[in-house]
Symmetry: C2
Subunit: 116 residues, 2 copies
Amino acid sequence: MSPVSEASLWAALADPHRRSIVALLLERPRPVGEIVEACGLSQPSTSKHLKVLRDAGLVRVHQDAQRRVYALDPAPIAALDAWLAPYRALWTTSLDALGRRLDETSDDTDEPSAKD
Amino acid sequence: MSPVSEASLWAALADPHRRSIVALLLERPRPVGEIVEACGLSQPSTSKHLKVLRDAGLVRVHQDAQRRVYALDPAPIAALDAWLAPYRALWTTSLDALGRRLDETSDDTDEPSAKD
DNA sequence: GCTCAATATGCCTCTTCGGTTATATAGCTG
DNA sequence: CAGCTATATAACCGAAGAGGCATATTGAGC
């Protein structure tokens, strides 16, 4: 019944520009032109990103004359939240248990930091 | 705070195999061999995925003889949760406000619920 | 020190993805 | 209907990513 696969949801959000768009639409629905301007991308490129977001079910379109107004659809993000749920226990409930786990497995003072 | 870029976190989780690995490690820390078997991938490919996860800060390694035992690190996932926070309001607090928004912009009848 | 076991890396290929330019479509306006 | 505006789609290209095979590395055991 799920109209969109979780895979396409992750794939959609993997791109930083698309996350920006999603963030923009969190504030309020916007027509394409506005998104183009805000993102600094070309119009075709933006349209493609919007298509990916549409296919992932993350946004909905409302046609208003020649304008297409995009709005966020919360459902897929809620699905993300659901995916996250089992992990949330790691830093809320049993932080100590995990702490022990990491502790006994850390010999490695490595920091993968500063990649990007 | 987060030593690793959000971008690499998303990129890491964008791959379904890597999400599988993360899910495996949620149950318990595992050596590479076990992950290889569970994922059905080749050992080199698995090692590469593990490197990506390491670079994203999602996993930590504990060397045990020749074995490398990988364990989940909750911090980056907590960061994901933080990212999600502003959106969470969409389906918890102001569902009605958003409902109106979607309503007036709906040309498509959708169903929530989406698993992989 | 040699060999085996476990894991990581290098190299190569193939596909996917994101961006660009050019063009098509649809609605408005005169 | 002509022309303009707003957006989508197509064709193309270069870059990145994921998988496979072969090989390097490292620790253990004899």
